[in-house]
């Protein structure tokens, strides 16, 4: 991207016009409403919402324009030179006020939204923004119009999260724009005509029964309270509003917590660079897990003689009454002494390799940094890892090898500049919903979406082409495209010559991969493969966004190598709208990896076996450090069950904010391994399946209870501020880590408020060298979000990287050829179906948070598996029937739902449900480079019938308001 050469190009053109007799300067194209506002003139407006397309329907903003017969809507009209506008003339004011009066005349006696708690507020201001403007313009409804109030529609309270009271609707259609143009879910429509006009969900279905995905954009947009979040109706006054970041996915939406009486009552979207006030159902409505009565509030110690029982994971552990059978409450002193003491004892007796730590991708950067520092300097080995291993480990392996960096090259919002985006192995509307809204916006604007996935998911509705390739055949499909580019002369020759290396090897290897040869393997017709390849190469900018479908295979690294090759030979990287974007899952998986919470690298990907890095950190931390990379997540499970003779046998673990007893593959083995540990310390907010198997449980802080930074998929470092204190005796994670560190003889001594978080952040910043050099704590306080690389304090942050060179040894991208490697376990006669595991919109990963969030649970309370109609017919299944899915490693009984996007011969399951844990069946076979398990492919048998495991609820605060009627 070139900086403008001429300063004149930076200046906005201006336009001079008159407003109520005063000369005013507007920017070219700026509306009268906005120009007026900038000059302190507030013209009333209702249907206008800043950021949304102006619609000009309410007519509250009408102004006189000299020479025009009728009044004009100032929200839609741009000022032109010499225009004479009157916003406050008698004629303009009369219509503005009449509009407000007419709308007020149809409002119900009792409204749904007002600021302030007093009776006066209740009386006067019950209808949100309508009341505010009426009050400012001194508008009351005359009795003659009051007497003509319309026949009011009935309330629709069918949705668990939102109340629909259309008696307060002013037909401004902000919600229609919110749903159709912002989030592009196309649920809300404007139906009927004239005075019967109403907003409807789908074909006038109750909201709770519609295709609404509960993103809540409509309740955020509604000016009068006709659409409201059920948890926060009426008075909008709160004790405090605290700015933070959403704790769920890697999009990193900025939010504001509304806190009243020490409870979060609602969450608003904040205008952050990744989300621009948009949220999804989890971020907006899934906050009350924080207040769930099952929060761990006291340190717990396993009672002597009570064996660890992996068999009881599903049945017990959910009801706090059951905990008393297994654990006793303890003081922090005792619990910390025991936790650290025993870990230290194991280390001293069996050696440093006998310990391992799993940190959290959901905690803050500071927590991740301290955790890996504790393992490296306290435990004395590099046995530290986190769930990135189960996520993009293979993508990162390929990226570090190819381009020298595992982070994204372009941010999601850059899609705006793309001619084509390939979404491969990713289901963004479910897993990165707000990122998906940008994709949908771009598609509506002409960007071509290519969806490549064995499952056709909702983003497919907006795709120019869908490539429903056979599961496991990514390399065949991608190599066919690379073949096309090379054979048809579509390479960017300059780029290949000057910025890539190893092209000849790639070219040689690709010879056997023509689309015609690959078509029968991947199931996509050759002509379609060629068409997509051509379009990819020729488009003005092409970006690849990918997810677990690419990475969670034994050939995940190879899959990613192909993606890197495809963008490189077409020159589609290093410029706006192009590049490589592995969509980061967890809210802080990027940050946790950056902070060094991985076994083979120090902070900022400096290899532990690199002598320079090793020496630097020994000095920085003033401790001898292990030179050898540690073991990864799945390898650690094997090391726990290794024979005593193995010098690397792991006997003690410290797990913070991770749930391997649900997220690891082959759960029977993983759980058995956890049970076999001599000593397991678990630090978490709930009694997770992993905590159930612990020796010591340390109750920790949930995300709204901490101040810290997190790094999203876009390389934005964002600040979350603490909104609440942890409940009971639960403590901040940073405090717990530091207390444990003390007890294994680490002298840290971080000073400052919020457990010294600012000091810890700064130390991490220095450890990471250049990458976040310019992002100081103070700068984050001011700006709330800064993109890295950010080399100095006045560097605004570089959203696009690799524009000049790649951070590899020779500055070029290395093209690595890939060949077809089959999945580790193919279907056969006994196990004829492919099991694909993944996630769903409403539930996050192992479900520990979201299944304890009342709204999310109300929307999706039950474990289900998805099959296409054809397969269901073959097994004589109806939607809702019970089936048993079985692999060589385990089985679950579950209800089936129909999804024709799932291919024949495959069955899809989310892994969020402990009573039907998908990972009981998955295959722990690893990609050799990334060490990531093959979650996306194993062989299962599906039979009708079975007895589902008992579902024990999470003591949700469910009331009538939340039931779906």
């Amino acid at each position: 991207m070139n900086a403008p050469v001429n300063p004149n190009e930076l200046e906005l053109q201006t336009v001079e016009f008159k407003l109520d007799g005063k000369a005013i300067v507007a920017y070219e194209g700026e509306t009268i409403l906005k120009a007026a506002k900038r000059h302190g003139v507030d013209i009333p407006h209702l249907c206008f919402k800043d950021g949304y397309r102006p619609d000009g329907n309410c007519r509250a903003c009408v102004v006189e324009i000299n020479g025009e017969r009728t009044l004009a809507p100032s929200c839609c009209r741009s000022a032109t030179a010499g225009m004479e506008v009157k916003a406050n003339s008698e004629r303009a004011l009369k219509s503005q006020k009449l509009v407000l009066e007419m709308l007020l005349s149809d409002m119900p006696d009792e409204g749904y939204k007002w600021v302030g708690d007093s009776d006066a507020e209740r009386q006067q201001h019950q209808h949100g923004e309508l009341s505010e403007w009426a009050s400012r313009l001194d508008v009351q409804v005359r009795p003659e119009l009051k007497a003509l109030r319309r026949h009011q529609p009935q309330a629709d309270l069918s949705h668990p999260a939102m109340a629909v009271n259309l008696d307060a609707c002013i037909q401004c259609n902000r919600c229609v724009r919110a749903c159709r143009e912002e989030q592009v879910n196309d649920v809300i429509g404007y139906a009927m005509r004239g005075a019967h006009s109403e907003i409807v969900f789908d074909l006038s279905d109750p909201m709770g029964l519609s295709t609404c995905v509960a993103c809540g954009e409509c309740v955020q947009a509604c000016p009068t309270g006709a659409l409201m979040p059920k948890t926060h109706m009426g008075s909008q006054a709160v004790d405090r509003k605290v700015d933070s970041v959403c704790p769920f996915c890697g999009v990193g939406c900025q939010i504001t917590y509304n806190v009243k009486d020490e409870q979060i009552v609602s969450v608003d979207g904040r205008d952050g660079p990744a989300n621009h006030s948009r949220l999804c159902v989890k971020g907006r409505f899934g906050f009350d897990y924080v207040h769930n009565p099952q929060r761990l509030t006291k340190p717990l110690i396993r009672k002597p003689g009570i064996k660890k029982d992996e068999g009881s994971i599903e049945a017990a552990g959910k009801n706090p009454n059951d905990w008393k059978e297994v654990f006793r409450e303890a003081s922090w002193e005792e619990a910390l002494d025991l936790a650290a003491g025993k870990l230290k004892g194991l280390r001293d007796q069996y050696g440093k390799k006998s310990l391992a730590g799993f940190g959290s991708a959901k905690g803050s950067n500071e927590e991740a940094y301290l955790f890996q520092k504790l393992v490296r300097t306290g435990f004395g080995s590099n046995n530290v890892d986190h769930c990135t291993r189960l996520c993009h480990a293979s993508s990162v392996a390929a990226l570090l090898e190819g381009v020298g960096s595992g982070a994204v090259s372009n941010q999601v919002n850059d899609i705006e500049h793309s001619g084509l985006i390939m979404v491969i192995g990713s289901n963004p509307t479910a897993n990165h919903p707000v990122a998906a809204t940008w994709m949908k916006n771009a598609a509506k604007n002409g960007t071509k979406i290519v969806l490549a996935d064995p499952r056709i998911t909702d983003i497919g509705k907006y795709a120019w082409r869908t490539l429903q390739f056979k599961p496991d055949t990514d390399v065949a499909m991608l190599n066919a495209m690379i073949y096309t580019v090379i054979e048809e002369g579509l390479c960017d020759q300059e780029f290949v010559k000057n910025r890539a290396s190893n092209f000849e090897a790639l070219k040689e290897n690709i010879k056997g991969y023509s689309p015609e040869a690959m078509a029968p393997i991947c199931g996509i017709p050759a002509e379609r493969l060629r068409e997509v390849a051509r379009e990819f190469a020729k488009s003005k900018a092409s970006m690849i966004l990918w997810g677990m479908g690419v990475s969670q295979h034994v050939h995940g690294t190879d899959n990613a190598r192909c993606l890197i090759a495809l963008v490189s030979i077409t020159g589609q990287i290093g410029k706006p709208g192009s590049g490589l974007h592995p969509l980061r899952g967890q809210n802080n998986v990027q940050g946790a990896s950056d902070a060094g919470l991985i076994p083979m690298m120090f902070p900022n990907y400096q290899r532990v076996d690199n002598p320079d890095a090793h020496d630097w950190f020994e000095k920085f931390w003033n401790t001898p450090l292990d030179k050898k990379p540690g073991y990864t997540v799945v390898e650690i499970m094997h090391k726990i069950t290794a024979p005593d003779s193995d010098p690397d046998k792991v006997r003690g673990m410290y797990i913070m904010g991770e749930n391997p007893a649900m997220s690891d593959p082959d759960l029977n083995h993983a759980r058995h391994a956890l049970v076999s540990l001599d000593h397991l310390v678990v630090q978490d907010i709930f009694m997770t399946e992993t905590a159930w198997l612990a020796d010591v449980i340390l109750p920790a802080s949930a995300w709204p209870e901490k101040t810290g930074t997190v790094t999203n998929t876009d390389r934005m470092v964002q600040l979350g501020k603490r909104a609440l204190s942890p409940p009971g005796d639960a403590k901040p994670d940073l405090w717990i880590i530091q207390e444990l560190a003390k007890r294994i003889d680490l002298q840290w001594g971080y000073q400052g408020e919020e457990c010294g978080v600012a000091e810890i952040y700064d130390e991490m910043r220095r450890a990471m060298h250049a990458a976040i050099q310019g992002i100081t704590w103070e700068r984050l306080q001011r700006e709330s979000s800064v993109t890295y690389p950010c080399l100095s304090e006045d560097d605004p942050g570089q959203p696009i990287v690799f524009d000049q060179s790649f951070p590899t040894k020779d500055g070029r991208v290395k093209l690595v050829p890939a060949d077809i490697i089959p999945a580790n376990e193919r279907p056969d006669e006994t196990f004829p179906y492919v099991l694909i595991t993944g996630r769903q919109l409403e539930h996050w990963h192992t479900g520990s948070m979201t299944r304890r969030a009342s709204v999310l649970d109300a929307i999706e309370p039950m474990a289900t598996a998805s099959m296409c109609g054809a397969d269901m017919t073959q097994l004589a299944l109806k939607s809702g029937d019970v089936i048993t899915i079985r692999s060589r490693r385990g089985e679950v009984v579950i209800h089936v739902r129909r999804d024709d996007g799932t291919p024949a011969g495959a069955i899809f399951m989310p892994f969020a449900y402990y009573e039907a844990a998908a990972n009981l069946m998955t295959n722990p076979a690893l990609d050799p480079f990334g060490k990531i398990p093959e979650f996306k492919y194993c062989a299962v048998a599906v039979t009708k019938g079975g007895k589902p495991a008992q579902f024990i609820g999470y003591e949700l605060l469910v009331n009538d308001a939340m039931l779906i009627r």
Binding site: T70, S95, L98
Partner: protein
């Protein structure tokens, strides 16, 4: 190539930009202007939109020359109009008559006079939106720009003649209900105004203050001509038939 598209009967889809919206497959809601449809119209392209009567005459005018069309007309007006006359006349129907003809001439020369037992009381010169005039004002030439001084307009020249058997207020209420029914519902003045006005016009003694306020906001702030013209029947009855609403 001529492509015919059928509407589904909504009156508002006769409004030029609403018609375009409808042809594009969307709700028939008028657009904000500017930009005008001559700049941004159907499928975003500059668009010329005319009613069929205009299109019909183009062929003759091209063939015979513009002067020919101008040889027609009465009372210093030029051209021909198709007046769709209905109501209490002996022979209603479509009458091709000189532009500028007065209502009395139209009734007498083209419609066979009033029906037996009916005496001329009032008329709508231009369809639902064109206003209502009393029989005492029967010498106004009916054409573009001739009726504006009286708060009326010719519109589509759909002339309705009513007699001493009828009440102007009934016609006005009928028309307002029509607008209420046909309003697209997009903007507050028309959506709410037509509905409230129709209710207020039902009572024997009209609340003229409220009706005038509603009329003002509809005329000044509606998005399109439907809302802007909807107050015409109210204002005409108030002005020309005050005895009916006192």
């Amino acid at each position: 190539m001529i492509e015919l598209r059928r509407g589904a009967g909504a009156y508002i889809c006769g409004e030029e930009s609403a018609m375009i919206e409808s042809i594009e497959g969307k709700r028939g809601e008028p657009r904000m202007r500017p930009p005008y449809i001559a700049q941004v119209g159907l499928f975003g392209r500059p668009t010329l939109e005319h009613n069929f009567e205009t299109l019909y005459w183009v062929r003759d005018i091209v063939q015979r020359g513009p002067q020919w069309f101008s040889t027609y007309g009465r009372h210093d007006r030029k051209g021909l109009r198709s007046f769709s006359v209905s109501g209490r006349v002996k022979s209603p129907g479509v009458k091709l008559a000189p532009a500028g003809i007065t209502i009395q001439e139209l009734i007498d020369e083209y419609c066979g006079g009033m029906q037996a037992g009916h005496s001329f009381y009032g008329y709508l010169p231009g369809g639902a939106s064109g206003g209502i005039l009393p029989a005492s004002m029967n010498t106004i030439p009916l054409d573009f720009d001739t009726l504006q001084p009286y708060g009326c307009f010719i519109g589509s020249a759909a002339v309705v003649v009513f007699s001493d058997h009828d009440k102007a207020r009934d016609a006005a209420l009928n028309v307002m209900r029509f607008f209420e029914h046909e309003s697209c519902g997009q903007c507050t003045p028309c959506r709410v105004g037509t509905s409230k006005a129709a209710q207020l016009m039902q009572v024997p003694k009209w609340d003229q203050s409220t009706l005038e306020d509603l009329s003002t906001v509809m005329v000044d702030a509606s998005i399109c001509g439907l809302g802007q013209a909807a107050p015409n029947p109210i204002r005409c009855v108030t002005k020309y038939f005050p005895q009916e609403i006192a």
